[in-house]
């Protein structure tokens, strides 16, 4: 077998191995972000400006993460959470600086998408709690974007 054929075969084997690997091996926070942005899409038509910046990371099933965000009274905010793990169940909730649930009742949770709506009663810091409630993966990427109007 000449060298070029060997290289080709080795390359093909590698490609085959890559194909059979689970897709999440290649997944990243970027993928999670694209799902979070997908959840945000319908709200843009309602006048929400979705921020380019976002939070993200990975969590085990059953783990939560708290992030702190400055919100301004007078504005209305939606936070959208997404993950690329389709069989995951995720949620997002918002608490004020006293630890009291501060969100509107129209937040939602649909599998690997979730959203929370807040109309701040005061200007200040709020806590956004991200939760990977269930996931078949050991670590689940998540991304949180927000919009305001």
């Amino acid at each position: 077998m000449n060298a070029s054929v060997k290289v080709l075969l080795r390359g093909s084997s590698l490609l085959a191995a890559l194909i059979v690997l689970h897709p999440t091996v290649f997944a990243s926070v970027d993928d999670a972000q694209s799902f979070a942005l997908q959840a945000a899409e319908p709200y843009v038509k309602e006048g929400f400006q979705v921020r380019e910046d976002y939070w993200g990371g990975d969590l085990a099933s059953g783990e939560k993460k708290a992030v702190r965000q400055q919100l301004f009274k007078g504005n209305e905010y939606w936070f959208w959470l997404g993950t690329e793990v389709e069989r995951a169940k995720i949620s997002v909730h918002i608490y004020d600086s006293d630890g009291k649930l501060a969100e509107e009742p129209d937040g939602w949770q649909k599998g690997h998408f979730a959203a929370a709506h807040v109309i701040p009663k005061t200007t200040g810091s709020y806590f956004v709690i991200v939760n990977i409630e269930e996931s078949p993966e050991e670590r689940t990427h998540w991304a949180l974007v927000y919009g305001f109007r």
Partner: protein
């Protein structure tokens, strides 16, 4: 796509952040915030127009009187350019509020020049073009979106080359200019709700911590800002009390002085 360094940063943030225990399907009506992390590392610094939007809802604001279109000084020190860049982007948001298309276009050009000055011009060129095109069409939402994208792209490009500190100075420059305008508007037509928009103690602490970690930036304006934030902190960190008119005026004096320092040579 978010570049790998940003992914690393995000993963580090996630790893260093607080991991809470799962609490099942029921949403708790109350959580113990003392258990939550005291750091604000995860904070996304609000855009100036997030504050301007809230301010607008309190009553008509004459945005035209806050529009600033002078080109400012050309600096060579990268920290100074970064601060100025954040300020100019904030000026872009003010010009959008005033629906001043010529100024928005000038600012689009200025942003590009400054971005080139710190070596991230390539990532900004399409945004600068988009800002100018949207301003021509008077598509103000489009300009706002592009200004946000511009800031994000600048910061992402800086993070890629491990210039996170410069990236933080961009945010700080924008925040200072936004606060200068906010306090100017509220000082002229005081309202408790307007003053309440200054209640941002965690954000201020975030900037203080970042500045303290920049001893290598031997630029007087950086130290001046660090000292000034120490003066502003007790004026806005008032808990549930109201921020009085004299505090708003004082913060305006401080941020106006800093604004002058950012845009002009020492």
């Amino acid at each position: 796509m978010t570049p790998f360094p940003k992914y690393l940063k995000l993963s580090a943030i996630a790893a260093s952040g607080l991991i809470l225990c799962a609490q099942g399907d029921q949403v708790p009506q109350h959580i113990d915030i003392k258990q939550l992390s005291k750091t604000v590392e995860d904070v996304v610094v609000p855009l100036p127009n997030e504050i301007f939007g809230a301010l607008n809802k309190l009553g008509a604001v004459n945005w035209k009187e806050h529009v600033r279109s002078d080109k400012g000084t050309n600096f060579t020190e990268r920290p100074r350019i970064a601060l100025l860049l954040g300020t100019v982007i904030a000026d872009g948001f003010i010009a959008v509020q005033a629906e001043d298309a010529p100024t928005v276009k000038e600012i689009g050009q200025r942003v590009l020049t400054l971005a080139k000055g710190i070596g991230v011009g390539n990532s900004i060129t399409p945004h600068a073009k988009a800002i100018i095109e949207a301003a021509d069409k008077r598509n103000w939402d489009g300009v706002r979106q592009e200004l946000d994208r511009t800031q994000n792209s600048v910061q992402q490009a800086m993070n890629e080359v491990h210039d996170e500190k410069l990236s933080q100075l961009v945010s700080l420059g924008g925040w200072l200019r936004g606060t200068e305008v906010l306090t100017s508007v509220v000082s002229k037509h005081f309202s408790a709700d307007g003053a309440e928009l200054l209640h941002q103690p965690d954000l201020l602490s975030y900037f203080q911590t970042r500045l303290q970690a920049m001893p290598e930036f031997n630029v007087p304006i950086i130290r001046e800002i660090e000292n000034a934030l120490g003066q502003v902190k007790p004026l806005i960190d008032v808990g549930k009390a109201r921020i009085p008119p004299e505090s708003v005026k004082k913060i305006n004096e401080i941020t106006t002085r800093l604004g002058g320092g950012i845009t002009t040579r020492d």
